[in-house]
Amino acid sequence: MSVTVKIPTQLRSVTGGDAEALVDDAATVGEVLDGLYDRYDGLRDRIAEDGDLRRFVNVYVAGEDIRFLDGLETPVEDGDEVTILPAVAGG
């Protein structure tokens, strides 16, 4: 099974420009992110702190904010889309 992770512009400097990444064999959002941290050096520091997400980063599974689900323990299913979304203020 695999999920697709959408990576925002602000984080593409640490993903080598990748805007999307496929992660296999992850059962929770936390495991999906661990899979990304293994692949992309520096990503963990940008979005996580002390084992949790930094507060200005939102993560959505299938359009729902994981803050209102089970956080990093939120389960993911095959084919789910995970969106990482920091706030943007440009105008």
Binding site: T9, Q10, R54, R55, L85, V88, A89, G91
Partner: protein, 396 residues
Amino acid sequence: MPTGSELIRQIREQIREVDPREVHDAIASSNGNGRAPLVVDVREQHEFEEAHLPGAIHVPRGHLESRIEGRAGDKSQPIVLYCQSGQRSALAAHTMQQLLGYEDVASMNGGITLWKDRGFEVETPRALTAEQKSRYSRHVLLPEIGVEGQLKLLDAKVLLLGAGGLGAPTALYLAAAGVGTLGMVDDDEVDLSNLQRQVIHTTDRIGVPKVDSAEQTINSLNPDVEVVKYHTRLDASNIMEIIEGYDVIVDGVDNFPTRYLLNDATVRLGIPVVSASILGFDGQLAVFAPHEGPCYRCLYPTPPPAELAPSCGANGVLGVLPGTMGRLQATEVIKLITGAGEPLIGRLLLYEALSATFTELKVRRDPDCPICSRDPGSISQEEMGKFPDYELFCAG
């Protein structure tokens, strides 16, 4: 075959007719609690403009079949139709009941003539001028907007924060749409590097304050629009004074501190905000309607630190992108003012230009939100836009 008058008599026997007094009492006793019947005027445009029942919507009988469902989607809701004397509304009620499946339709006996004879009040609405009828004719043709919606737009007061990337296209379209009062807050001057995207400004106005340049363009586009200029930077000392009295605020500011400050002030005042932000090839859009849906802090509880807030410095942006996002903002503003459609409340729309995709995410109201979970009156001026370690954030 029956004669015309026989046919009308037969039809009137098949429908329910109500006396103006019943309609008046039903409206008065409902007191806005939602059980009032929907009152529909089925006469021609000029008759409606002359005078109509208070609160009545207008669907001319000639357009009944094509337009009524757009105005009265719930076929079980109580509906009262009226015309001048009660004949046209009887025929319209028959059509709605027999052919369109409306369950609770009545025709008001004697029409608006008997209503007035009974001494009940009518509304004599302001109408569009001949020039306005022509200028806004494509709006008026839309049943979701119509003359009523256009008059609402002309009466509306919309404040644009920033006359830059997002503010420029939004202002142009809102001005063209006939939003009667457009406030603009911007302390900047037009720069050559703005013109790749800020289409309200022109090359010969480089160095001119953006609010003056925008006013010039708007005035030549639509004389119906009054521009209120604020050549200043929005901050805690002036925000309440500037934003109070506006119906909708368009947030296209380029920094986090102002976005949070605006959020807190608008939650306190109960003013909806149509918010967009852009970076590179990507845009975000949401409508924050205080207490009806989530606020900006529910979505983003804290701003990112400066190193992760690329808005703080000069960054690349595709020139068309603020145009796309600004026009989506203008669309949401028009929807809020006219009541048409479903506003983008509780939802965040992401647009990625490079992949040409739109993504919709749900935004929930945070029951522990430090701002919108509280009584709005308790939000003090001092705490608006504040965070414990606020100074760490880029000042924009």
